[in-house]
Symmetry: none
Subunit: 216 residues, 4 copies
DNA sequence: AATGAATGAGGTTTCATTCAT
DNA sequence: CATGAATGAAACCTCATTCAT
């Protein structure tokens, strides 16, 4: 075993490290100079590799960007995935505040990348195609990948079942609204981009206003 | 007096018409293909003029974009400016629903342009410079131009004075949250961009959840 | 007489004034920003007219430049034309110093325009064509228009006839050399372009070294 | 040691060859069509590379031109650098004639580039900045780089010390005048640009008239 | 005669991508 | 696997010239 295909393994290791550096470089450069100025040159430089190296790991720039988005999305989804399981424990406001706080913090990191998706229809289209393929590949049953709005709606519905959220709340629109507000806050002009967190007062208002059971 | 300076006026007329066509072309092209693909060539074509014509009216592309943003912003501000005057009339929910509905409709139109500002730091910087100059030029007293969050907060405070909004509502954070949610909704993936309006259910939820006096 | 075709006359007057302003504008702009940056826009602005006005007086930019060169050349030729007639009067050194001093002063003014001719073969070709046509139009006898080297050589030859210049001086090469040195001095790096005159020491050296009769 | 870093060297080699081809292309194109028509397209074509290649080696067109000027200047300086060491050997006239003849020949090659510097103030300014930086970088003691007028003046002074040039000659003005004349001759209209040399008669006159010791 | 908006060819520069090393 | 020179299409912008007023 010692010495078995050492070069191949080392090479693989090296390649993975390079890919990681590239993904992080995409995030950094887009956050720094904006998507329109995030050129392959700038990204390669930030990653400390030659420009040509990009194309040894990704077939083109769009694919690299989508990989960076997926990579940045993972912790966001993880932060939300816990939520439904907590229904009935602690307090509703506490659970939401913690989850949304985490989410806001993470989203801040990936907002520039999400913006890129929103401003570039080509990128969005390619992402849609990838998602479609992924769903198809996973079989017909795997239609609904978990996404933040769905997870949040699930949690709210579960709390309704526990009687801890007013029964007449439309959980779908509420989830969408809450997350939209969070996104909107991250973008609002005047937001200090260096502070990674949302103003706690605003966050409290958001939670409180939306789920308050009617005991006011 | 009529006909006093007919040529001068005519000349100006033509130029103004061209400028208008250019501003609209910017909006259309950005909405269509996205800011990164909104080239001067595409804009000129959409406006029905030669590429060089752009530069007789605007010194560079950034200035053209900023002019388009300002132009698109005008009706948005107009829609909000009425609101504070309506405090005490009709119903709170009615006033807000109407104003936010209008706002959502208009914002939809200018969201792509605002996104451009958010993705391109250069553009944002130049806009900031322009605003600074405009404020300076208007004298030291004109510091605060009216903006949507301020106007909405003013309205909410006025309704508090009328006792039609619960007294403990923090009007500043509430205004910011509502508008952020509106912006977030316009961006949320899955929003049908062809429907210019926000889902009325969501809008109702937004108004209701945020300002509801405690009579539930 | 009063009121006789006043408009026509006024129009002509105005046209001539405009042409003059244009010629001077060409000189000023070329001297200021250099021939490659002397655009029709800059020239029109310097002349205080609209860009289109240029083409009411000159068929194209090259013709305008050549007219400006010819205009700037007139006083230079005038300064040299006197010289041959002065042979035998005053002192040789005095005559030359005065003529060359004047020439240097004037040339300074037109050096930028002459440089334009030297850097732009198209312009030079068109000038040559114009000269050829002028000569042809003036009849076959008018082949040799008076030019500075010829006039200077004529003067030196006349002084040789008076015995005031050493007999073995080759007047042709001497004239060419002197004028070339003058041109070279105007161009030499380190020449202060604001001082319109040549260093008197250098000028004295130039005169002295070239024509000194052998009494040293 | 051979083969130590073969790739790096090879890469460098290719780049260096391309740079050389570009520098020569600049000279050729400027000499051919004149500075105002020396477009990047024409230069790239003359060098046999794509237009974009220029910008991998030089940040912009101006820098490329300045590099071409510096490159063309090197042999000119080399031709003059020998001169001071020859004082006291051969004959004064022989030394000067040879050096100036070489200089004229070389200068002919670089006259179009020097003209470009003279007609384009932007270029001249950037050159001045570069020179200033170079001097500063070389330490405060390296203020005076050797330049042709200085070297020629040094030579003349040395010959004065040997008693082979008349003692009352002002070596500074003489050197300036001689070189200015050479430059002027290269530009003089009527000079056949295909003959790379200056008319020997004129050259003799130039040498003779300026340094002749008084034994006539 | 004069204006200035409009034109479109062409200029410099950028950039995603390919290829020889 | 990695490099970096090379490519060429396309981006933004300029400019001499034309044309409606």
């Amino acid at each position: 075993m010692p010495g078995a295909t050492p070069t191949a393994r080392a090479a693989t290791r090296r390649g993975e490290a390079t890919r990681d550096r590239l993904l992080r470089a995409v995030r950094d450069v887009v956050a720094d100079v904006g998507y329109p100025h995030a050129t392959t040159r700038a990204i390669a430089e930030a990653a400390g590799v030659a420009e040509g190296t990009i194309y040894r790991h990704y077939p083109d720039k769009a694919t690299l960007f989508l990989a960076a988005v997926a990579d940045a999305n993972r912790p966001v989804l993880a932060a939300m995935a816990d939520l439904p399981g907590r229904a009935g424990t602690g307090t509703v406001a506490g659970n939401l505040t913690e989850a949304l706080g985490q989410l806001a913090q993470l989203r801040q990191q990936m907002v520039p990348l999400e913006l890129a998706m929103l401003t570039d229809p080509d990128l969005a289209a390619q992402r849609a195609r990838l998602h479609a393929e992924a769903s198809a590949g996973a079989g017909p049953s795997a239609a609904g990948l978990p996404d933040p709005p769905g997870l949040l709606a699930d949690y709210l519905a579960a709390e309704q079942a526990h009687g801890r959220v007013r029964a007449d709340l439309a959980v779908g629109p509420a989830a969408v609204t809450i997350l939209a507000a969070l996104l909107g806050l991250a973008l609002a002009p005047g937001t200090d981009p260096s502070s990674a967190t949302v103003d706690p007062g605003v966050l409290a208002h958001l939670v409180d206003g939306n789920i308050r059971s009617c005991g006011c």
